[in-house]
Every structure is written in C-alpha cells, then in structure tokens.
Symmetry: C2
C-alpha cells in the first residue's frame, strides 16, 4: 500500500448469547492495509451506517447472509472518498457508497459492488438513509409488500428510525393515515412533525392492544413491522380485513438469535382476517432501486421531506452506538462520522 | 306447510370450552317446519357436509361469519331435492346445493343463495366436495394464495381430507412435487394412490421437523396449511426461500377457540426466507368459482381424478361425525347421507 496507512477497526470478540454488550466487540487500533488488487479501490470512510440487521450477522445461525465469525471484521455500509484506485471505474477524490465498508476507517472495496455518490445532489450520508437502503426498504415495504392504498391505516413501528421516517412520509403522501409507534415522546413529537397522524409510546402504554384499537378504530390495514415482539403482538389483535404485515425487521428479538421466540401465535386471526404476513429483504428489489430513489428524490426536491440523523463521532463509538440502537436509544438514522 | 312434515335437527346445547363433545349438541326429534315465504324453497337434504370450519362458528368469539348461539341450529352445507317451491327459479324435484342447510333433514332456503345441481353431470354430493367448497378451496389456495409453480415442493396437511385430496391432485397435475401429511398409514396409502409423491404420518413421527427436512431436501415452497398446530410448526422450520403458506384451516386449534395459542413464533424465519403467510376464505373468490369448477371438472372427465368420501347414515350421526372430524377420525370427505 503506497500510502502506508494504518487502519482502525472493530472485530467480533465472541458471539453474544443474548443481547450484545461491549465485551463482544474488540477494537483494533493498528491494522495494516492490504495492497490493492486489480479492480479494487481504497476508500476512506466519511460515514458508517449502524443498522439493526447487523445483529443477525453476529450469530452462528444461518441467516440471509453469511455470518461473521469471532475475529472477523464486523459488517457495515458506508460512504467515503476514494483515496487510491486500481479500477478504471473510480478516480481518487470521488465519493462512493457500498454495503461492504465494515466497522473500520479505511476499506478495500471491489469496484463491482461499489456505487458513486454525487455530493452535489444531496449530503453524501443520505446514500446510507433515505436515498440508500433504508429509503428503498421503506418504499418497497410500503408499496410492494404492504400494498398500501390511499385511505388505509398504516401503522409503523420504530417510526422515527431510518426506515420508519421515510415510510411514514411516503404513507402520508400516498393518502394513507399514518400511525407511529416509538419508544419515547421526543421521537413521537418528531413523528408528528414529519406528518404522522398520531403516535403511540409503547413503553408508556399499559394496554398496547387497546391503545392501537383506540388509535385505529377500523383496524390496521398495513403494519410496517420493524420490530416484531410486543408491538407485533398488539397489532395482530387489531388487524382489519385483508390486512398486510410487511416484516422488515425483528430488532426486538435481538436477544433471541438462535433461540425460539415463544408467545402468542395468530394463525386464527390471520385466517379470519384473510391477512398476509410477508417477510422481505430490500436486496430482492435491487433491480428497481432507481424507481424508488427517483420517487424519494422527488420529495426531497419538493422541500417537504424531513429526516433526522443521529450522528456519533469516530470509529471508537461504533460498538456502543450499535448496542444503543438495539435498545432503541438512537433517535433518527444512526450514523458514525469518521 | 302443506305437507305437514316434521323436521329432525341438531341445535347447539352450549359453547364448548375446549374440544366439543356430544353434550354440546342437542338433538330435536320433532320440529314443525315454517310456512314458506315468497322466494323460499323447502328442500329435503340428501347429503349434509361435515366441515372443520363449523368449529369456529360454535363460539362466542367473533369469527368471519356470525356464530351460533346456544339453542340455535348448527350450520352445514348440503345438497338435496326441492319438495316445495315458492320461487320461480326452482321446481319441485330439482336438486339444489347451499351453504345454509343446517344440521337438519329439511331446510327452508332462500332462492337467492341456492344453486341448482345437475345429477346427470356428477354424483350430487360432489357439489359438497371436489365441485363445491372444498374443491374451490383447494384450487384458489394452491394457485392463487400459494402461487404454486411447476417443480416446486408443495406440502399439504390433512392431505387425505376433502380439500387435501383435491389440492394434492391439482399440485401433481401442475408439475409440483406433492408431500402428504396425514394421521395414519391408511390415509397415506390413499394419498400415494391419488398421486402424492411421499407421505408423512405425523402421529408416528418423533421428530417432525427433521422428517419434513428429509422429505423436502430443498425446503417447502408451498405449505397448504389445513391444520395449524404442530405440523405448521414443523414446516415453518423448513421453508425454502420465498415460501408461501396458504392458511386454509386451523383445525388443530379446535380446543383453543377464544384462547391464546402459545408456542414458537417464526417471524425471523419469515424474514430470512422472505416467506409469505396468508389466510384466505374461499368465499372471497366467489366470482371465479366457474374457473375453478371447470378446471376440476376437466380432471374428472379425464377419468384420472380420484376422491374418497366417508359417509355416515342419518341425521342422528351428525354430532358424532363432527366430533370425529375434529379428531381426524374421518377418512376422506365427511358426509352425512340423509
């Protein structure tokens, strides 16, 4: 490596049995960078993305992508600047985005799985949020999997999160009634500010099924499920006929990876309401990302779109930020500024 | 009533707390028939249909149709002969089919919800099975809700039942691999005879998830779920990517109506496999019954279609037949010959 850079990064110390804590992550302060191979680029991260899906990766259980083994680099998307290139697709000084940054300051990326980011169009970190994976997730979850129609009631858990903020605004723009569920009043204030019709603080609500019933008198038509757990349970008791549940994330099961999730099941409710529960991964819609990005960009250009980021500084903060995210301690899209 | 007929029927004695037994049903041996009103017909039942959905009706819990109250006539579809008509649509001596016969020998039906049956086309009781609701259920559950495609593995619970027999044969004709799950070897022998590729006796299998894994090495693409319960649980651990679960019936929850069904939940599996769980009722497809009936009639004309009925004699046998059905004691489509 011509520049003799030293990398700092996080690797997995050990698989968490339940919720991860800082002992499960190992900081490495002096890691040499490999020499670039043909079609690779060296990128200095400017922002790394902290996402709930990472929990699923740090498990010996087979998931939808290969897991990380102890000693392995933890996975993260990011956006940053090319500082060395052995690809004719990328020049030094360009900004790029990829799912493969990892929890580190410098990343060697293959050109084929890296996208350019134009810093003149939007803040570069929007490629990690509303113009990136969370935005695409909101769009396809709401319109394809959820099949939301104007006039319907759309309930969104983790409503002020990276996906929830976009989904709520898309639902409102589509003529739906948008109901936010979040973990504190500040988040719900923000949800109302960005257009949600009503907000439910699930941590302060004694009888969540009844509260959802009160807030959704005709039942829930579309449940954008970012959490599983108690919110899911409460919604399943309040389905409207032909309801759709878009299963986007299961962060409330973060302490149960590889263990059974025991509780009430709702097959009779699914049958009686002709409901549809569907899991989805945004990657399955990769061929249609442009459609979603164009749609969301339209809102951004309108000036009506709002988005809150929750930014921590420095690669050192990555582990704590991830743990906080699993406890809903973030407020808005969680990013690490490098 | 000109004919001074005396009706015999079953009414609900009391809501069952768990599984119904004979004490929950009251036989009435001498019930006068009402006078026909305009657009009504009096029909003498020849066959009554015994179906698992009836369990959902004998509950104070709201279901997809109004429940029966204690003292009320129990619901059943049937086929029979018009013996008096005040409708210009029906003549005495014609055969008709309706969902509204009830557990009784004579029924007063409204012309609007009654369909003619041509006894020259097929045995009249086929309008209660493969050319009636169970056949339609199999067709729409397999092709619409399950979206079965040639080459896929389709697993069907209650595989030798009224719906399962049709679904299995349709799946095979469509080029799918059909896997039967049933409660004894005689039923599985029949399943193999009508074309299922392989059969699983869930009562004699110690490790059902492993057995399903062995029988479905690529996972289950379509699960035609007639039962919920332990078979559902075992299948959910063996989903292929993009699997579809058509929730058609929940007979294994017959002892839990109005009570929570506690057990393992599969949201993470649904997410990771991008699976779809969808409840459906055949009535929602009413506009397309002709399509389904034509399709199934084609098989019947081919001479390749096979169907087993399990017939008991006399209205007196209705309660025991229904209870037996809930315990999987029937073998084939359960009918009462009046």
């Amino acid at each position: 490596m011509s520049k003799n850079l030293i990398n700092r990064r996080w690797v997995l110390a050990d698989y968490p049995e339940a919720m991860p804590d800082e002992t499960h992550f190992q900081f490495e302060a002096s890691v040499p960078l490999p020499v670039l191979e043909e079609d690779q680029i060296l990128v200095q991260a400017h922002f790394l993305s902290v996402d709930p899906y990472m929990r699923g990766r740090i498990s010996p259980e087979a998931g939808y992508t290969a897991g990380v083994k102890p000693g392995g680099l933890l996975p993260a998307g990011g956006v940053g600047e090319v500082i060395e290139s052995r690809s004719n697709l990328f020049d030094e000084g360009e900004f790029v985005e990829s799912m493969n940054f990892g929890w580190q300051e410098y990343s060697v990326l293959s050109a084929g799985s890296t996208q350019k980011v134009d810093p003149a169009l939007a803040p570069i970190q929007s490629s990690l949020s509303y113009l990136g994976m969370p935005g695409m997730t909101a769009y396809f979850g709401l319109f394809d999997v959820g099949a939301a129609k104007p006039g319907e009631t759309v309930l969104i858990s983790a409503a002020s999160g990276a996906v929830g903020q976009v989904a709520g605004q898309l639902a409102k723009a589509h003529g739906c009634r948008a109901v936010a569920v979040a973990s504190n009043e500040a988040k719900l204030d923000w949800c109302r500010e960005i257009g949600y019709d009503i907000g439910i603080n699930y941590r302060e609500t004694e009888d969540l099924p009844k509260m959802i019933n009160d807030c959704c008198p005709n039942g829930v038509d579309v449940y954008f499920d970012n959490t599983a757990g108690p919110i899911h349970d409460a919604v399943m008791q309040n389905l409207n006929l032909n309801a759709r549940v878009a299963v986007c994330g299961v962060v409330s099961l973060a302490d149960k990876i590889g263990k059974p999730d025991i509780g009430q099941r709702y097959l009779r409710q699914i049958l009686v309401n002709r409901a549809r529960i569907q899991g989805f991964l945004v990657f399955d819609f990769a061929e249609r990302y442009d459609e979603a990005r164009d749609y969301i960009s339209g809102f951004v250009r309108d000036g009506t779109f709002k988005f809150k980021e929750d930014i921590s500084d420095g690669i050192e903060s990555m582990a704590k930020s991830f743990i906080d995210l699993l406890h809903s301690e973030n407020f808005g899209k969680k990013l690490i500024k490098i």
